[in-house]
């Protein structure tokens, strides 16, 4: 295990810049997720750490050791591949032992035996040691592959979209298997994914990467509840965040927001008001997630009239798209109600639930109860 750092790294492939001045600092033992859309540069980061490619500029450090130009096999890095790459003709025991029987990492057989049994117990696969991988379930196979990589106690574990090829159901349960084993790892892990649920579930911290640059590094709660930019806000959540244009007003010392859908002034909580006043902004973008919008079927004070554009029942919830002024507002309703296209509906925007961004820079300004949100909620 080791602390892994990229320090102002730039990577080019011919005329294409894959990574621009990227710095990350992965703590010893941390489970660090690199998250971003396809082509963002995620795999380039892994390749630099593994030594598969070298940067044009910047340093790669394992603890304090300078690793640029160090051969991949000298770096003691373990890769877990998408398909696990287990030997089908060897037993589970032999599969796990194989990484301690190579020329470079050869261990005495009594050490091999002790380590295989230790890792097998940790991964909850002790009963399978004499079986072949084909006789194991998918979850067990994943644990065997991880066990094989873990047994060597590498500097860092690299995982490149290990669940991407699975169907939705299996991906869900494998994600939980991984999470369930995480505490047993005791190894620095860098995990690449484009799936926000994997990132939020697994990462101690998440580095959001886009077009070769890091946009934000933070915990799952931070990137979801306190996104530094509108761009990051849009990457997390099933139902894309709604961004509304708001105008900051002040009346009798009270800060409020006027939306383009009517004259209604929505009061903002004090912590938000203060920050908006300090920043001295007139126009703001306000992000409302799909579960953060209130509605009524009847006219109601403080609610603005919209029209149902479409409604999509999905079993235990309905996704509603409502046309309001020039905007389409999309949100989730967790009730067993029937809706009709073009029917009137009344929406309310509770500023306690909004995320405020600067209207020009699109950067985060404030939201209500920042510290509570950072913790992800109350203890249950």
């Amino acid at each position: 295990m080791a602390r892994i750092r990229l320090d102002h790294v730039t990577k080019k492939y011919g005329s294409i810049t894959a990574l621009k001045d990227v710095s990350i600092d992965v703590k010893d033992n941390e489970f660090y997720v690199i998250f971003g859309p396809a082509g963002a540069g995620k795999t380039s980061v892994l390749n630099l750490i593994a030594g598969i490619s070298d940067p044009e500029e910047g340093d790669i450090l394992f603890d304090d050791a300078y690793m640029n130009y160090v051969e991949p096999r000298e770096r003691d890095v373990a890769m877990v591949f998408e398909n696990y790459a287990l030997y089908p003709h060897k037993t589970v025991y032999e599969n796990i032992a194989s990484s301690m029987r190579t020329k470079k990492y050869r261990q005495p057989e009594e050490v091999v035996d002790r380590e295989v049994k230790r890792v097998a117990a940790m991964m909850n696969i002790s009963e399978l040691l004499e079986r072949k991988p084909t006789q194991a379930s998918n979850g067990q196979r994943q644990r065997i592959a991880l066990g094989r990589a873990l047994v060597r106690n590498p500097n860092v574990f690299l995982m490149d979209e290990p669940l991407a090829h699975l169907d939705a159901k299996l991906r869900n349960s494998m994600r939980k298997e991984l999470k369930s084993m995480q505490e047993a790892f005791h190894t620095t892990t860098i995990y690449v994914t484009h799936d926000y649920t994997e990132a939020m579930s697994l990462g101690d911290r998440i580095a959001v990467i886009h077009e070769g640059s890091i946009c934000q590094v933070g915990t799952g709660n931070e990137v979801y509840y306190l996104p530094e930019t509108e761009f990051v806000a849009k990457l997390f959540g099933d139902c894309e965040i709604n961004i509304l244009k708001g105008c900051v007003t002040e009346e009798k010392g009270r800060t409020g927001i006027r939306l383009p859908y009517g004259e209604e002034v929505y009061p903002v909580p004090d912590d938000v008001g203060e920050r908006l006043q300090c920043a001295g902004v007139k126009d703001v973008d306000i992000g409302f997630r799909g579960w953060a919008i209130d509605y009524s079927r009847e006219p109601r004070k403080g609610y603005v009239r919209g029209k149902i554009y479409t409604h999509e029942p999905l079993g235990n919830k309905v996704e509603l798209t409502v046309s309001l002024g020039d905007d389409m507002i999309r949100f989730i309703v967790h009730v067993d109600e029937r809706f009709e296209i073009d029917e009137a509906i009344y929406l309310h925007f509770n500023m306690d639930k909004g995320i405020f961004f600067h209207s020009e820079t699109k950067e985060y300004l404030v939201r209500h109860n920042e510290e509570v949100m950072r913790g992800g909620g109350k203890n249950g």
Binding site: G139, A168, S180, M200, W291, P313, G315, D342, G377
Partner: protein, 375 residues
Amino acid sequence: MANLKLQNLYKMYDQGNGKKDGVYAVNNLNLEIEDGTFLGILGPSGCGKSTTLRMIAGLEEITKGEIAIGDMVINDIHPKERKIGLAFEDYALYPPLSVYNNIAFCLKANKVDKKEIDQRVRKIAKTMKVEELLDAKVEGLSGGQKQRVNIARALVRNPRILLLDEPLSHLDGKMRQILRGEIKRLHKEIKCTTILVTHDQMEALSLADHIAIMKLGVLQQYGTPDEIYNDPVNIFVADFIGEPPMNLLPVTVQKADGGFCFLLLDGTRIKAPAKFHSILEDGQQYTMGIRPTSIVIADEKDYDAQFTVDVFENLGDERIISIRILEDFLTIVIEDMLVFQKGSRIYVKMKEDLLYLFDRETGERVREQGQRNGG
């Protein structure tokens, strides 16, 4: 009115050497849908959904059985004469032609009056929101735009039935979501009987007013999305519909003070709902089904089961608690902003109406007395 009726419909493919391959791709399918229905045919690959669609379109020979529109059996009617509009997933547009000429193609071939063609093309282009693209070449269009043109082309002939074969599966998330909404609105506007074939349960639930769910050529259940979701007839339907999927766990019935409980494989007990008491006996084995959203957090004073949290995930939009039951997980989805630690003890209630039992052997639903019979 033109109801569509499929009666004892069978399909067996040739092996290529003139012999049948012995497997029914569609096996005794019976369906009757009213004019104006939006039917979703749903199932995994190989379930016979596309074959069914192709037989309705006339692209596939019918091995046995009848397809009728209204009182007219259409088995022997040429595809062109069936008045059916068809839009496949891969568009099959003519790349050198403009959007306008793609939509107009068929009308021109049928020598429809030029003025009328123009009217109809412009009208349908408006409905499908491709008016501004009429002069563009097809090549430069995005996937979503191509599918709109594709559907417009199918609709311009005023079909009696519109068939859509996985129309959204080539599109990426956002585009798919937008076009899904458009198709829903389109149906409301033109009220043309529509059949959608899909493997995506979300698509079927959100678009169709009736769903036929198939497996290996056999119809499993036909009903409204609500019936399919809340009243599944067997374990296949229960498992196929819903995201995250329904918890399906083997249980043994055990007598417990005055009632019964379900014993999970790891020995955990779940109080059996009173509605099942009349059919339960000590030692019976079932598969119990309950959706992750049908389990709610309770307290130690009143609960149906207690568990130890193995995995807690805050995914922002929802939170997932997973309980390990040997090799499986039992999943609970909560909407409240609560945080749980690994290893903590939780007390839960099960929503009684939404707890299902299935026969361990056949997978068929086991119903308590007097329960509604879906499908």
